[in-house]
């Protein structure tokens, strides 16, 4: 075991060394971001992070260009056309957040055949020639219940707020939650769809609340915690432990509760800056690095101790974010090998 890890370390060291030498190889390359949707704060932060990191990379001469494109409607056909345009424009790599895991495979295949590196993240594509930086959504569900189990070993009633019905992400997170709940003393006494939006979640929770017994905690999918808190407050019921999703207003509310009555919870989500991870992974592939096709996005987690620090860094109305650097991408690639 020890020898193995030493060996791994040695390999990692060599790779880092080599990458340092080969750095300039991508200075003439161009990378495009193909994005399918921009209509919420998470996506806006994602685009902003891309803009910041990509601009710096172009300034530093790491790449020749890194342009971002967003389709006006969240539709696979439109994104497929967009990718075809990118092929014609001659980009060397396309980083994409896909409208559908399968519907743009054709266009992705065309891009690969044209010698273009395709890296999908968040909304990944199944086409084998593309790279995938996927989110382990099931793990996101499991982690929530694990935290709650620590807090309440004796179990209790849970309310589940789900996302948008019929979407893959919603099914995955929920499956993770239910799997983990099996092995605990928790009971899921209610389940509503909050569409990942505060106001929809608030409405759905207000509607089901009168029929619920005492609720110990709420498991969520992100973007819905503040709405749930509002609904409980409006109904005059004691606030349960609500797992948050890193939104600024959720963190702000948590901070106020923490100061007022020592409220404790946790918050986890994917940082919108994952787009920059996509950027660096694409750059590494262009640089000739061997990169596994399947990578996993790390969660950005806010805990009782880190709350103030992250809250201070999060712009008003936005979502907690980190921008990834080249080293983060290299570490991620190493860990996947």
């Amino acid at each position: 075991m020890n020898f193995k890890s030493m060996l791994l370390g040695a390999i990692a060291g060599t790779v880092v060394l080599v990458s340092g030498q080969a750095m300039a190889d991508t200075s003439g390359k161009t990378i495009a971001l193909s994005n399918n949707y921009a209509g919420n704060s998470w996506r806006q932060a994602m685009l902003e992070s891309w803009g910041k990191v990509a601009y710096q990379a172009v300034q530093d001469g790491v790449v020749a260009g890194a342009d971002a494109f967003t389709t006006s409607e969240n539709q696979a056909t439109e994104q497929a056309a967009q990718i075809q345009n990118m092929i014609l424009q001659g980009y060397d790599a396309i980083v994409l957040n896909a409208a559908s895991p399968t519907a743009i495979n054709g266009a992705v295949k065309e891009a690969c055949d044209a010698g273009i590196i395709v890296v999908s993240f968040d909304g990944i594509v199944t086409e084998p020639c593309a790279w995938r930086i996927a989110v382990d959504f099931k793990q996101m569900g499991r982690d929530q219940v694990k935290y709650l189990e620590q807090r309440y070993p004796d179990g209790g009633n849970l309310l589940e707020i789900r996302g948008l019905a019929g979407v893959f992400v919603d099914d995955e997170i929920s499956a993770g939650i239910h799997e983990q709940v099996e092995s605990t003393k928790f009971d899921i006494v209610g389940s509503v769809h909050g569409d990942w939006a505060q106001d929809v979640a608030q409405k759905a929770v207000a509607g089901i609340l009168p029929s619920l017994p005492e609720v110990k905690a709420i498991v969520t999918q992100g973007g819905d915690g503040y709405g749930a808190a509002q609904a409980f407050e409006a109904a005059g019921r004691p606030t349960p432990t609500i797992i948050m999703g890193n939104r600024r207003d959720e963190l702000q509310w948590w901070k106020e509760q923490k100061d007022a009555n020592g409220y404790e919870t946790t918050s986890l989500s994917i940082a919108p800056g994952v787009s920059t991870l996509g950027f660096w992974v694409a750059q590494q592939i262009l640089d000739g690095k061997e990169v596994p096709k399947d990578l996993t996005v790390p969660f950005l987690r806010v805990d009782q101790d880190t709350l103030e620090e992250i809250l201070a860094e999060t712009p008003v109305g936005s979502v907690a974010n980190v921008e990834y650097a080249l080293e983060d991408a290299q570490k991620l690639i190493q860990s996947a090998k």
Binding site: D199, Q202, G207, I208, S211, P213, D249, V316
Partner: protein, 333 residues
């Protein structure tokens, strides 16, 4: 008159029943209320406490208010006749809420100017819609849909999706209640009463209905059809702006996707409420019944713990049944 009908009912119970049915038939909105009442009672089966029953009704009134405000606007548009519908309501709500909350910047002294901005944005959106429809002769569905992209992009551009909190006193007002009713419901009630007066008691209301029943006949009859259209589209957008303002104040800030569900909701409450989708015939009370019903049905199916698939299917089926019932009864007379 009243005495008379009472007498006939006592003499001949059968005719009395059919008379009662006749009264029902002439009021298609009754079905929306019956549906809402039935759903409410069905939900109460799983609500254990009496406090729960009250808070369910309170929540229903609160959330129905937003649908009512946009629904009233949409009702006027739909009344104008086939092909008239405003699909820019969600984007107008988002834009009005985003701009006004950004302007207020959580400062309580700015509430009135903030409200005026929301209404002004509605006004501007309505004018733009009308210009597309009248001056460029674009069909309303396409005009309002394409305008909505513009409004939505403006909202994105103006604030990049950042969520600015409403001033504390405004948030307290929007989430609070007076005389046992949510304040949002009072706003909706005010809007509804005004709309009802316009529709039933003024010449403008007659003009709207006349234009919807037969535009050509109305024009020949001296109705200023274009002015009516102008008023209706602008009024609808102003109501959407108001709804966006109240909703954003209620839910703690404007979201880029806050209006999404009101696209279908605004049309659904009009149709379920018993207004004719073909235009020319509308009613305000039905919108209340329908909006309450739309909230309660989701609550009921949620409370029964049904899966999302079953829930959506049942929602669809029940809505179809209510619409069929309402329209059938209406046609018989």
């Amino acid at each position: 008159m009243n005495m008379n009908s009472n007498n006939t009912r006592v003499e001949n119970p059968k005719r009395g029943a059919s008379h009662l049915l006749g009264v029902f038939s002439r009021k298609p909105w009754i079905w929306a209320f019956l549906a809402a009442g039935a759903t409410y009672l069905a939900t109460l089966v799983v609500v254990s406490t009496s406090a729960g029953a009250g808070s369910l009704l309170y929540a229903a009134l609160t959330f129905a208010s937003f649908s009512i405000i946009v629904g009233v606007g949409q009702m006027f548009v739909v009344t104008l006749g086939p092909g008239n519908v405003d699909l820019s309501i969600p984007a107008t709500m988002t834009l009005a809420a985003t701009l006004s909350l950004k302007f207020m910047a959580s400062d309580p002294t700015m509430i009135v100017p903030g409200l005026l901005i929301a209404i002004g944005v509605g006004l501007a959106c309505g004018l733009f819609n009308f210009a597309l429809i009248m001056l460029l002769r674009i069909p309303p569905i396409i005009a309002t849909l394409s305008a909505s992209f513009l409004f939505q992009s403006l909202a994105i551009w103006s604030n990049r999706g950042l969520r600015i909190k409403p001033p504390a006193s405004l948030a307290d007002f929007a989430t609070g209640g007076t005389f046992g009713l949510p304040n949002a419901a009072w706003v909706a009630l005010l809007v509804s009463v005004l709309a009802w007066c316009v529709l039933e008691k003024t010449i403008a209301g007659r003009w709207i209905s006349a234009s919807g029943q037969n535009t050509r006949a109305a024009r020949l009859g001296g109705v200023p059809v274009n002015a009516v259209r102008f008023g209706v589209y602008v009024g609808c957008a102003v109501l959407a702006g108001l709804a966006g303002f109240v909703l954003a104040s209620f839910s703690g800030g404007a979201n880029l996707n806050m209006g999404t569900e009101y696209m279908l909701m605004s049309i659904a409450v009009v149709v379920i409420g018993g207004s004719s989708i073909a235009g020319g015939n509308s009613n305000v009370p039905g919108i209340w019944g329908a909006a309450l019903f739309m909230f309660l049905i989701v609550s009921m199916l949620n409370s029964y713990g049904l899966g999302a698939g079953v829930r959506l299917m049942l929602t669809g089926l029940i809505i179809v049944s209510v619409v069929v019932l309402a329209s059938k009864r209406g046609r018989k007379v």
